[in-house]
C-alpha cells in the first residue's frame, strides 16, 4: 500500500519483507473439509504482509466457535478467549496498546447471540479494532443449531419444527449501533474479500466486516445465490465509492431511491439515469447505508457487497490518550 493504512499510524512499520508463509503458524488447521473458513484464512494470511506491520505487533482476538479457532493458525500474537467476549477484551487491549494492530475474529453466534452487547458497544465507541464476522448463519462448533442470522423457519437440531425468530441483519444492527465502518464480503471471492480487508485496515476506528461463510456440514449452500456462477452475476451488487451502482451480467440493473427512503432495484434501461444511485460510503447520515442494508432482507435477489459506510470519527482509544496527554 502507498501510505500507512489509517488504523496503523501508531503501529511500528516492518522493514522485513514478509510473505504469506510468515503468517502461517505450525498448528494443523482443524476445520471440516470444504469449510469456508479455509478460504478466509488464506485470504487473510496473504493480505497481512500488505500491512507492513511486524508480526509481533499484530494481535488476533477471538471468541468461541469454529471461526474463532482462526488465531491458532496465524503466526502472530493471539488470544482465543471465551464465547462472545472478544470485542470487550480487544477494547482493553487496543485502548491500552495503540502500537498494536488488533483484529477480532468472530461468528454469527459469537458476535450476535451471546456477544451482541459487546459488539454494539465496541462499534458505538469506535475503538480502533477490526471485527471480522464469519457469518455462516448457523452454530457450527456446537453441531448445528440455528443462529440469530438463520432465516426464519430454519429446521435445525434445536428447531425441528422450524425457527421462530426474525433474524438480525448484521449490517442494519451495526448501523443502528453507530458503526463508522460497515462492509460485507464473501468467503469465496478472494479478490473482493482482500479489498474489503484493505479498506478495513485503512479505517481508523471500529471496522465491522460481515463475511458470508459457507458451512458445508451444517448449513451448506446457504449463500448459493451470491456464490454460484450463473446466479451470482444476477444477485451480487458491488458497491464502489463514487461509482454508479450497476449490476447484472451486462450491468443492466441499478438501484435508486423509491418512496419513503427505501432503495429499490430497477432496470437501467427503464429509468432516468439521473435517478440511479452513485455510491457514497462517506455520507455522515447512516440512513443511506441502512437503506442499502435492507436490500437483501428476504432472498438474495440483490445483495450489496463492499464498503457500505466509512466515515471518519475520533476513536475511543485516541480520545483516551488525548485526555491523558492533556494533563501530563
Amino acid at each position: 500500500m502507498p501510505d500507512t493504512p489509517k488504523s496503523l499510524t501508531l503501529v511500528p512499520h516492518s522493514d522485513e519483507r514478509l510473505g504469506m508463509k510468515d503468517f502461517k503458524s505450525d498448528q494443523e488447521v482443524r476445520w471440516c473439509p470444504g469449510c469456508g473458513d479455509y478460504a478466509i484464512l488464506a485470504a487473510f494470511q496473504s493480505f497481512l504482509p500488505e500491512l507492513e506491520v511486524p508480526r509481533e505487533n499484530l494481535v488476533i482476538v477471538s471468541g468461541i466457535g469454529c471461526s474463532s479457532r482462526l488465531p491458532y493458525y496465524v503466526n502472530s500474537y493471539g488470544l482465543h478467549s471465551i464465547h462472545g467476549r472478544a470485542p470487550a477484551i480487544a477494547t482493553g487491549l487496543a485502548s491500552s496498546r495503540q502500537d498494536l494492530s488488533v483484529w477480532v475474529i468472530t461468528g454469527d453466534g459469537d458476535a450476535l447471540s451471546i456477544g451482541g452487547n459487546h459488539l454494539i458497544h465496541a462499534l458505538r465507541r469506535n475503538v480502533n479494532i477490526k471485527i471480522l464476522l464469519f457469518n455462516n448463519r448457523i452454530y457450527g462448533l456446537t453441531k448445528g443449531q440455528y443462529s440469530p442470522t438463520s432465516e426464519q423457519g430454519k429446521v435445525t437440531k434445536s428447531t425441528p419444527f422450524g425457527s421462530l425468530d426474525t433474524p438480525f441483519n448484521p449490517l442494519s444492527l451495526a448501523l443502528g449501533a453507530e458503526a463508522s465502518f460497515v462492509a460485507r464480503t464473501i468467503d469465496s471471492d478472494r479478490k473482493h474479500l482482500t479489498s474489503v480487508l484493505r479498506a478495513a485496515a485503512d479505517h481508523r476506528g471500529a471496522a465491522f466486516v460481515e463475511i458470508y461463510q459457507n458451512c458445508p456440514i451444517y448449513n451448506d449452500d446457504a449463500f448459493l445465490p451470491v456464490t454460484e456462477p450463473g446466479q451470482r452475476e444476477h444477485n451480487v451488487v458491488r458497491l464502489e465509492h463514487g461509482q454508479p451502482v450497476k449490476y447484472g451480467p451486462e450491468g443492466e440493473h441499478g438501484l435508486r431511491f423509491g418512496k419513503l427512503g427505501s432503495i429499490e432495484a430497477v432496470a437501467v434501461a427503464d429509468v432516468d439515469p439521473e435517478s440511479l444511485l452513485v455510491h457514497d460510503a462517506h455520507v455522515e447520515d447512516p440512513s443511506y447505508a441502512f437503506a442499502l442494508s435492507r436490500l437483501d432482507q428476504t432472498d438474495f435477489a440483490h445483495t450489496p457487497i463492499g464498503v457500505f459506510r466509512s466515515v471518519e470519527r475520533a476513536t475511543y482509544d485516541d480520545r483516551m490518550s488525548e485526555q491523558i496527554s492533556a494533563v501530563v
Binding site: N57, V59, Y72, G78, R97, H118
Partner: protein, 617 residues
C-alpha cells in the same frame, strides 16, 4: 460567657437525619476537622440505598457516626455519646444505640404532629419525659438557621438546607474543632453560587455562636490530639485507599494501570477516584457491563498493563467466567469485590462478608486464584500493593475482598513516600527472546514460582496463541491428552498453593502468652474484634487474636496456629464461610460466630461472646 472546659479521652458522635438533611456532609466535615486536629478516629456512614428515601420515614434515615480520641482506636464505636437527631425518624431509628446519659440534640422544628405520627410516635418524646434518662437539648435548629440567614437573598428552601451547617457549627464549638477547613470547603463548594456560600458560612458560624453564647451547653469538651507515629496523615476511606494503592502499585511495578469497571454500589467510588488520576497515565474504562469490564482488564493484562476490575457481589457473579479464563491463560489480573449484603441485590449500601466462598470457588472446573482481604480502610492501600505483587509475580488473578464498611468508613492514614514502598518491578520481568531456548514455550514454568512467561505483544520472536482450552504443559498448544490435563490441573493448583511460602506467616497477638482461646478473623472485622479483645483483656480475660489477610493460599503456619489453642472462635459477617474452610482444611473444630445484619459487629457484643468461649475453654 466563658464556659468550663472538660477533658475527654474519646467521644462518639452520630449525626442522624433525613437523606436530604446533609448529615453525611456534616459528618464528613467534622471528621476532616478532627483529622486535621490530630485525633485518632474511625467513622461509619450508614445510609439508605435510595437516592432520596421518603422524607421523615425510618427507611429514609441517614446517619454518620464518628469516634475520635486522644489515643489509638479501632472502630466507630458501639454507643454514641451524642446523637444529633434532625427529625423524629432519626431519633427513633437511633435511640436504641444510645447509652443512658448520652446527649441528644434534637431539631424541635421537625417534631411536628405529622412527622411524629409518620413514624408512629403518638406523643412527642421531647416532651413526654420518655427521654429523661438522657441529656436532651431541644433546639429549633431549622428556624434559628432560617432566622440567621434572613439577610441573604436566597430561597427559604436554601436557607433551610443550611441547617446541617448550623448543627455542624454547634458541634465544632462543643468539641473545640478548628473551623478554617470547613470555611475553605464551603468557599470552593459553592464558588459558583456566592450567596449560598455566604449563607452556609453564616449558618455554620451561627451554630458555633449558639453553642458559645446560649445556656444550652454548660461545658465545652476538649480531646487532645493522639500520639500517632510521626508522619504526614490524611483521613482516608477504604475505597480511596484502594484506589491510591492501585496507582502506587502501577508506579512501583512500572506497569500502566488499566481499570475496566461497571458502576455498582459500594464499588463505584474506586472508578470515580481512579478516573481523576490521568496524570499518572491511569486509563479508566466504564464498560457496558461487568463482563466487559473484566474482559477489557484481561485484554490490557495480555498487553502488559496492570489490568484491574472493580465490582460488588452481583457483578462478581458475572465476572466468574472471565476470571476462569484468566486462571486458565495464567495472566495477572486484579479483581476488587467490595462486598455488600446479599444474596442477589440484597442491601446494596450495607456491609457483609458473604462472598468469600464465591471468590474461592465460584468458577467452573478447578480454577484456583489468590484471594486476599484488607482489614482496615487504610490497609486497603497495602492490600492493593500485595495483590499486584502476587498477580504479576505469579501471573494469576488476585481477588481483593473489601466490603461496604471498609469502603466508606475512614481512619487517619499515614501517607507513605514511594521510597519506603516495595519495588514491585523487581518481582517480575516480561519474557524476552533469550529466555526461550528454541521455539518459545508459553507454558514453560519458572521452577521457583511455577509462573509461566508473560510475553507481551510487540516482543519479537515470542508470538504465541493462548486460550481457555486445555494446553499442553510447556508448549501451551491445545491438548486433550488425559494425563496432561491431570498434570495441568495440579500445576495450576500447586502454583497457587506454593505462594504460601512467599507471604507473611500469620501473626498471633497473645501478650500474656498464656491464652487458650484464639479469636481468628479476616477482612473488615479486624477493628471490632480488636476492640472486643481489648474489652476482654481490660476485664482481665486472656485471649489471643490473629487476623487473616491471605485466604487463598492460607499462610503456611495457619495449621500450627490453630493447633496451639484449646478453642478458636471465628466471628464472620456471614454464616461461617471461613470456618467451613478451616475445618475442611485442618479438621480444626473452630467455633463460628455469625451476625448477618449488614452492619459491623458491636465490640461489646463480641466481647461477651469471647468471654463465654473463655469460660467454656
Amino acid at each position: 460567657m466563658t464556659k468550663q472546659i472538660q477533658q475527654l479521652d474519646r467521644v462518639i458522635i452520630r449525626f442522624a437525619g433525613d437523606s436530604g438533611d446533609g448529615m453525611q456532609l456534616a459528618g464528613d466535615r467534622f471528621t476532616q476537622e478532627t483529622a486535621t486536629f490530630g485525633n485518632d478516629l474511625s467513622t461509619f456512614p450508614n445510609f439508605p440505598a435510595e437516592i432520596r428515601a421518603p422524607a421523615g420515614t425510618l427507611p429514609g434515615v441517614s446517619s454518620f457516626q464518628l469516634h475520635f480520641a486522644d489515643h489509638d482506636i479501632l472502630t466507630p464505636g458501639d454507643a454514641p455519646d451524642v446523637l444529633v437527631a434532625m427529625n423524629p425518624a432519626a431519633l427513633m431509628a437511633n435511640l436504641d444505640d444510645l447509652p443512658r446519659g448520652a446527649d441528644i440534640i434534637a431539631n424541635t422544628d421537625e417534631f411536628t404532629k405529622r412527622n411524629l405520627t409518620k413514624v408512629g410516635y403518638d406523643a412527642n418524646p421531647l416532651e413526654d419525659g420518655s427521654l429523661d434518662a438522657y441529656q436532651l437539648h431541644a433546639i429549633p435548629i431549622t428556624s434559628i438557621t432560617v432566622k440567621a440567614l434572613e439577610g441573604f437573598d436566597i430561597s427559604k428552601k436554601d436557607a433551610e438546607r443550611a441547617k446541617n451547617m448550623f448543627s455542624l457549627g454547634m458541634l465544632c464549638w462543643l468539641y473545640n474543632r478548628p473551623a478554617d477547613g470547613t470555611l475553605r470547603f464551603l468557599e470552593s463548594k459553592f464558588a459558583s453560587k456566592p450567596e449560598i456560600m455566604k449563607a452556609n458560612i453564616a449558618a455554620f458560624q451561627a451554630g458555633w455562636n449558639y453553642g458559645e453564647t446560649t445556656e444550652e451547653f454548660s461545658v465545652q469538651y476538649e480531646i487532645k490530639p493522639a500520639a500517632l507515629p510521626k508522619g504526614n496523615y490524611r483521613n482516608i476511606n477504604g475505597n480511596t485507599a484502594l484506589s491510591i494503592g492501585l496507582v502506587a502499585a502501577s508506579r512501583l511495578s512500572g506497569l500502566p494501570l488499566f481499570l475496566g469497571a461497571y458502576p455498582i454500589t459500594p464499588a463505584s467510588d474506586i472508578l470515580h477516584e481512579l478516573s481523576k488520576h490521568k496524570r499518572f497515565g491511569v486509563k479508566t474504562f466504564q464498560a457496558e457491563d461487568e463482563i466487559s469490564g473484566v474482559g477489557a482488564a484481561l485484554g490490557a493484562s495480555f498487553g502488559g498493563a496492570l489490568g484491574v476490575t472493580t465490582t460488588s457481589g452481583p457483578g462478581m457473579c458475572l465476572k466468574a467466567e472471565t476470571i476462569g479464563l484468566a486462571a486458565a491463560v495464567e495472566l495477572p489480573l486484579v479483581i476488587c469485590d467490595i462486598q455488600r449484603a446479599g444474596p442477589s441485590t440484597g442491601m446494596p449500601t450495607k456491609t457483609e462478608q458473604a462472598d468469600l466462598l464465591m471468590a474461592l470457588y465460584g468458577r467452573n472446573g478447578e480454577s484456583p486464584v489468590v484471594v486476599i482481604a484488607p482489614s482496615t480502610p487504610g490497609d486497603c492501600f497495602t492490600t492493593a500493593l500485595e495483590a499486584t505483587r502476587l498477580a504479576v509475580k505469579y501471573r494469576t488473578p488476585v481477588i481483593i475482598l473489601s466490603d461496604g464498611y471498609l469502603a466508606n468508613g475512614s481512619e487517619p492514614w499515614r501517607v507513605p513516600d514511594l521510597a519506603e514502598l516495595p519495588d514491585l518491578s523487581a518481582e517480575f520481568a516480561f519474557a524476552s527472546v533469550d529466555d526461550s531456548a528454541g521455539a518459545f514455550q508459553p507454558f514453560k514454568r519458572d521452577p521457583q514460582t511455577l509462573a509461566r512467561p508473560w510475553a507481551i505483544p510487540g516482543t519479537k520472536g515470542l508470538e504465541h496463541r493462548i486460550g481457555g482450552i486445555e494446553k499442553a504443559d510447556g508448549s501451551g498448544t491445545i491438548s486433550y491428552d488425559p494425563d496432561n490435563h491431570d498434570k495441568m490441573v495440579r500445576l495450576r493448583q500447586a502454583k497457587i498453593d506454593g505462594i504460601a511460602a512467599d507471604i507473611a506467616p500469620l501473626e498471633v497477638d497473645d501478650p500474656d502468652g498464656d491464652a487458650r482461646v484464639l479469636v481468628l478473623g479476616w477482612g473488615s472485622t479486624f477493628g471490632s474484634i480488636g476492640a472486643a479483645i481489648r474489652l476482654v483483656r481490660l476485664a482481665g480475660g486472656s485471649v489471643a487474636q490473629a487476623h487473616l489477610r491471605h485466604l487463598s493460599p492460607f499462610p503456611a503456619n495457619l495449621g500450627d496456629v490453630l493447633k496451639r489453642f484449646d478453642k478458636v472462635l471465628v466471628p464472620e459477617i456471614n454464616l461461617g464461610q471461613l470456618a467451613l474452610i478451616l475445618r475442611g482444611r485442618y479438621l480444626a473444630d473452630v467455633i463460628s460466630y455469625n451476625r448477618v445484619r449488614g452492619l459491623p459487629f458491636r465490640a461489646a457484643e463480641l466481647a461477651g461472646v469471647i468471654e463465654d468461649v473463655i469460660a467454656n475453654a
